[in-house]
Amino acid sequence: MKLITAFVRPERLPAVKEALFKAGVQGLTLNRVSGHGGQAAVHEQYRGSTFLVEFHEKVQLTIAVSDAFVAPTIDAIVRSARTGEVGDGKIFVQPLERVVRIRTGEEDAEALTPVGAPLAASI
């Protein structure tokens, strides 16, 4: 099992969600963050004073997947989040030791198996 952390542009998020659902990945957590990896700082001005904005808005996705789903997940994110400009983001893959579903107590692979109808069916 792996824990995948991805940082993408906020405006690409709808496309990323769609790609992930189509790939069969439904369990994810979203977060709003500020990030910087090489994107140029933006000059803003307010009533005569200029200031630099170096950190830019990004969305962080946290996804726990079984090993079989690692490649499809990464592929889905890269395809949908890429624009070709500096600032597209990064994906980190970490080994995951244990997963527990709180409602039932199921663990590991069973805990990662989605419950209910696949969301991709309703797109």
């Binding site: 001005q45 009533r47 005569g48 004073s49």
Partner: protein, 497 residues
Amino acid sequence: MTSRTPTATPPAAGPIEGMAPDATPDAHTATRAQAALLRRAAPVVAALLVAGLAGAQPADATAKITVAVDTLWVLITGALVFFMQAGFALVEAGLQSAKNVVNILMKNASDFMVASIAFWAFGFAFMFGNGTGLLGLHGWFLSGPDLSPLTGSAYRGVFESLSWTGVPLFAKFFFQLVFAGTAATIVSGAIGGRVRFPAYLVFSVVMTTFIYSILGHWVWGGGWLAQLGFLDFAGSTVVHAVGGFAALGAAAVLGPRIGRYQNGRVNAMPGHNMTFVALGVFILWLGWFGFNPGSTMGIVGDHGLVARIFLTTNIAAAAAGLAALVVSWMRFGKPDFSMTMNGLLAGLVAITAPCAFVSPPAAVAIGLVGGVIVVLAIPVFDALGVDDPVGAVSVHGVAGVWGTVALGLFGLPALGADGLFAGGGVHFLLIQILGTVVISAVAFGSVALLWTVLKATIGIRVAPHEEIGGLDVAEHGAEAYVPADALREPVIVGAGD
């Protein structure tokens, strides 16, 4: 306005209805123009009212309708000016950080509440009561004989400086109160983000009781500046320069917000909501259609003049906003929204004194210059280390001085002002410069002195950690924007059992 055929034989002065649309305006001071109006209107109103008391029905009806319509005008425009308080609240809240919004709204609400009481009790008497060339000495709590709505020589009472307008005393008071409230609330934006609320309350009381009222007496209360021929139709100096330079005095003594000026840099501390700023400016613009035209304090004899004032007011605002837009674009590389808004307001401030006395093209020129100088002035005060989050000193103080001087330049003799460009010579212009400079200086000095005294006694700034965390929580124990956020739910011990 429908024309009426008077059925009573009018006295020699002529019927009010016969006044030409562009008649010499009711200046908001004891001036030649006012005297001319009194000569025309007072005998008629007085005769009609006396005839009415004696039971002559048609003349009685005409006089009653005149007073009623004029009273309606004064009260409706007064209500419009009152609504500018909402405009100020929105502009100031929008230009501050979200953590200080409750505080700014409290200051805005408080200064009008304070003004309503203090101006009723003492301020109105200081400003309009009979007295000396410096201040009024009669009419405390609106007491004292007063034969309003009788005007001119028929008037007997303690508020002679307002005897040129034929409406009841309470209407005169309400209209002047909302003007006092406007001057009072100008300061709150400039000192936002670091002032102690109790200090602000004390300042509000002193401002509306003494400073605004006594300075106003010099111009609208028949005081020494009025006697010199100084004109200020609706208050570029009396309201706006007084408020703006009071703001300068307060902000200078208070000092800037923490982190605003560092190592020669001016750090931007952006406002949190530009929608509020835009809405606020539109509400102020609407309110100004009460502020300027309402200062005729009558419409039956003045309808043409009132229409003129609507036009000059609006066109100056538009020209000023456009000028500020262009100048900010040239100076800063992009058209700046809040500077454009400030420019709009500066145009309104600048046209406030000359609005009844100038032509529409002159109003455009006055607005253009006002919009330009406000964009140039704002960075100057930053360079001086005076932190003014809303630009009140530039918009109200500097533009207010310009508007008063502009009256000396563009005033038309046919309308009652001997402007330089209309061939009236420099004498009137020099009186205008003298009046606005003296009043601005006294406003600045007295308010700076007051805040210095408050600083030494009750303290005027919040503690640094309170300023950083925001005045809303520190001064009022509240937040302006409370998110529906599960992360902030309080812990209830035992809830999990």
